[in-house]
C-alpha cells in the first residue's frame, strides 16, 4: 500500500500568491535586461566566438531543431559567401558589404493576403521570440557548413499577413539598389534576386527567417538584416536581404531558374541522387574540416528528410529538381 508522505513544507514557508506574482514580474523585468545576455551567452559560453562582431541579440531560445554538429567558425561563415549582390568571388561579400547599412529596413508585403502593406523591420521581428537554429547548410556547389542562425520561424511572420486560400506560393525579392549593392551593377543575374517556396514549405517549422548569427545581428555579407534559411534545400534558395514578400497563385521563377533552367529548378531540394548537369551532388566538402579531410556523403534533403519528405510525396524529384 502506498502511503503518501505529507509535504514537509510548512504553510508559512509557502510564498504568498501576490508576492509570488510580483516576484515573477521582477524576474521578467530582470530577464528582459539580462536573460538575453545570459541565454545568448549560455549558447556559446564554453568558448567565446573568435572574431565575432555585431550587436548581441537578447532573449534567444534554444530549439530542438538544432543539430548537435559543431558549427563552423565565425570566420568561415562570414568570409566564404555566395552573395552576387556584392560580387561573385567567395570573399567579395566579406570585402564589399562592409559599408552596407541595413537600417532602416522595411519589407513590402503584397498579393493574396488580408494584411498587405509596408512593414518595418521591427514590426516583423519584435512580436516574436528569437530562436537559435543550428542548421546544416549545403550549397549547390557541393560544399557544406554548419551555421548557428538566430531567427524566427517564417510561419510566425507569415501568419501576421493573413494569407488567403488563393496563396499557393510565396515569392521573395532581395533589395534592388545598385548603389548600395555594387554587384547589381553587372547584369549577371536578373536583379533583384527572386526566390520562391510553396506555401507549405514556407509554413514548415524548419523554415526560418534569420536575423542573426552566433547570437549577434546578422552580418551584412550573410544577408542582413533578414534572410531566409531553408535547410533542406540548396543554399541559393535561402534568399538574403529580403525587401519584398508576396503571396501568389502561380509558381514564381527563381533567379537561377530564370538564367539556367536546365541546372537550377524551383524545388532545389538537396538530393545526392540527382546530379547537377556539370558536377556530382553525391558528396560534399565540409568547409573548415582541413585540407586532408576529404569529402563526405550528401544526405537526402540534407538530413532533414524525416521532417520534410512528406511535403514531396508523389513528386518525381528527378524531374522536379
Amino acid at each position: 500500500m502506498l502511503i503518501k508522505r505529507p509535504s514537509d513544507i510548512l504553510p508559512s514557508e509557502i510564498t504568498d500568491e501576490s508576492v509570488y506574482l510580483k516576484r515573477r514580474d521582477l524576474l521578467k523585468m530582470a530577464g528582459i535586461a539580462t536573460a538575453g545576455a545570459l541565454t545568448s551567452q549560455s549558447v556559446f559560453a564554453a568558448a567565446p566566438v573568435p572574431g565575432a562582431s555585431g550587436k548581441e541579440l537578447t532573449g534567444i531560445q534554444k530549439s530542438p531543431y538544432s543539430t548537435d554538429q559543431e558549427p563552423n567558425s565565425w570566420s568561415d561563415v562570414t568570409t566564404y559567401n555566395n552573395y552576387y549582390e556584392f560580387g561573385t568571388g567567395k570573399d567579395d561579400p566579406y570585402r564589399n558589404a562592409r559599408d552596407f547599412n541595413p537600417r532602416p529596413w522595411s519589407v513590402v508585403v503584397k498579393g493574396e493576403c488580408d494584411k498587405p502593406g509596408n512593414y518595418d523591420y521591427e514590426d516583423l521581428v519584435s512580436p516574436h521570440a528569437l530562436e537559435e537554429r543550428i542548421y546544416r547548410l549545403r550549397c549547390v556547389e557541393a560544399w557544406s557548413m554548419v551555421v548557428p542562425w538566430v531567427g524566427i520561424p517564417l510561419a510566425s511572420i507569415i501568419k501576421q499577413f493573413e494569407p488567403n486560400s488563393k496563396a499557393k506560393y510565396v515569392r521573395f525579392k532581395t533589395l534592388h539598389d545598385p548603389k548600395r549593392m555594387p554587384g547589381q551593377q553587372r547584369r549577371i543575374l536578373g536583379w533583384p534576386y527572386e526566390e520562391g517556396l510553396t506555401i507549405e514549405e514556407a509554413m514548415h517549422p524548419l523554415t526560418l527567417m534569420a536575423v542573426g548569427l552566433y547570437g549577434r545581428e546578422l552580418p551584412n555579407q550573410n544577408g542582413a538584416p533578414m534572410r531566409l534559411v531553408v535547410p533542406w534545400k540548396y543554399g541559393f534558395k535561402s534568399i538574403k536581404a529580403i525587401a519584398e514578400i508576396s503571396f501568389t497563385r502561380k509558381r514564381p521563377r527563381s533567379s537561377w531558374e530564370q538564367v539556367i533552367p536546365a541546372e537550377y529548378g524551383f524545388y532545389a531540394n538537396v538530393n545526392p541522387e540527382v546530379d547537377h548537369p556539370r558536377w556530382s551532388q553525391a558528396r560534399e566538402r565540409p568547409i573548415g574540416a582541413g585540407v586532408f579531410a576529404g569529402k563526405k556523403a550528401t544526405l537526402m534533403f540534407n538530413g532533414y528528410g524525416e521532417e520534410v519528405a512528406s511535403l514531396y510525396a508523389g513528386l518525381d524529384l528527378r524531374k522536379n529538381y
Binding site: N72, Y84, K90, W143, I188, R278, S280, I287, V291, K295
Partner: protein, 204 residues
C-alpha cells in the same frame, strides 16, 4: 655590357626567370602554411585547385606569346625561354591535377574515372593534361634532334591544349564567366597573330 643572346646573358637571365616562375608556388605555399598572415580562405582545397590551374594556363599563354613577340620585336633570344615556360605550364598543371586527384577526390579512382567520363569539363581538363605529357617528354634537345621535322608537328598540339584548357575553365564556372572569357580573348589574339603571319608569309 652583356649582349642579349650571348652566353653570359643566358647564364644570368635563365636562373632569374626560373626563380620568377617558381614565385607563384612559393606564394601558394606561404598561404597554405599561413605564413605572415596569408591564408587560403575557408575552402583551401578549392583555392589551391583554382590557383594552380590558373597558373598552368597563364604559363601556357606566356609560352604562346614568345613567337609573336619575337617576330614583332626581332628579339630572337626570346626563343630560348620558351621551353622553360612550357615546362612550368606542365609543372603547374601536374600540381593542379595532383590537387584534384589527392586533395579533392581523396585518390578515389572510381570517383575520378566517373568524373572524367560524366563531367565534360573534367573530360576536357584530363584530355589537355594527357596531351601535355608527350610535349613535356619530348622537350629535351636530344628529343628535338631525334624527331627532326616531326618535333614541330607534334608540338603544334599546344594550340589544341590551350584551347582545351580555356574551355575547361569556361565550362567549370557557375555563372560569372568574365575571367574565363578574358583568358579566351588572350588566347584568341595569340592564335590570330599566327593566322595573320601564315597568310602574310604565303602572300594571301
Amino acid at each position: 655590357m652583356i649582349t642579349p643572346g650571348s652566353k653570359p646573358f643566358y647564364r644570368l637571365t635563365k636562373p632569374v626567370i626560373f626563380l620568377a616562375c617558381l614565385l607563384p608556388l612559393v606564394f601558394l605555399l606561404l598561404r597554405a602554411f599561413e605564413v605572415a598572415g596569408y591564408g587560403l580562405g575557408a575552402n583551401p582545397v578549392e583555392e589551391l585547385l583554382h590557383e594552380l590551374g590558373r597558373w598552368g594556363l597563364k604559363f601556357l599563354l606566356l609560352g604562346l606569346t614568345i613567337t609573336p613577340l619575337r617576330r614583332w620585336t626581332g628579339w630572337n633570344w626570346l626563343l630560348r625561354f620558351r621551353r622553360m615556360l612550357g615546362l612550368f605550364a606542365f609543372f603547374y598543371i601536374v600540381l593542379h591535377f595532383l590537387t584534384y586527384a589527392i586533395l579533392d577526390q581523396g585518390l578515389d579512382i572510381a570517383a575520378i574515372i566517373e568524373d572524367v567520363i560524366k563531367r565534360p569539363y573534367i573530360t576536357l581538363g584530363m584530355t589537355g593534361f594527357l596531351l601535355l605529357i608527350p610535349l613535356a617528354v619530348t622537350s629535351t634537345k636530344g628529343m628535338m634532334r631525334r624527331l627532326g621535322k616531326r618535333w614541330q608537328k607534334l608540338h603544334r598540339l599546344v594550340y589544341v591544349i590551350a584551347i582545351v584548357a580555356v574551355w575547361h575553365f569556361y565550362w567549370q564556372v557557375k555563372l560569372d564567366t568574365l575571367d574565363a572569357t578574358v583568358y579566351g580573348l588572350v588566347l584568341a589574339t595569340l592564335l590570330a597573330t599566327r593566322v595573320f603571319h601564315l597568310r602574310k608569309s604565303r602572300g594571301i
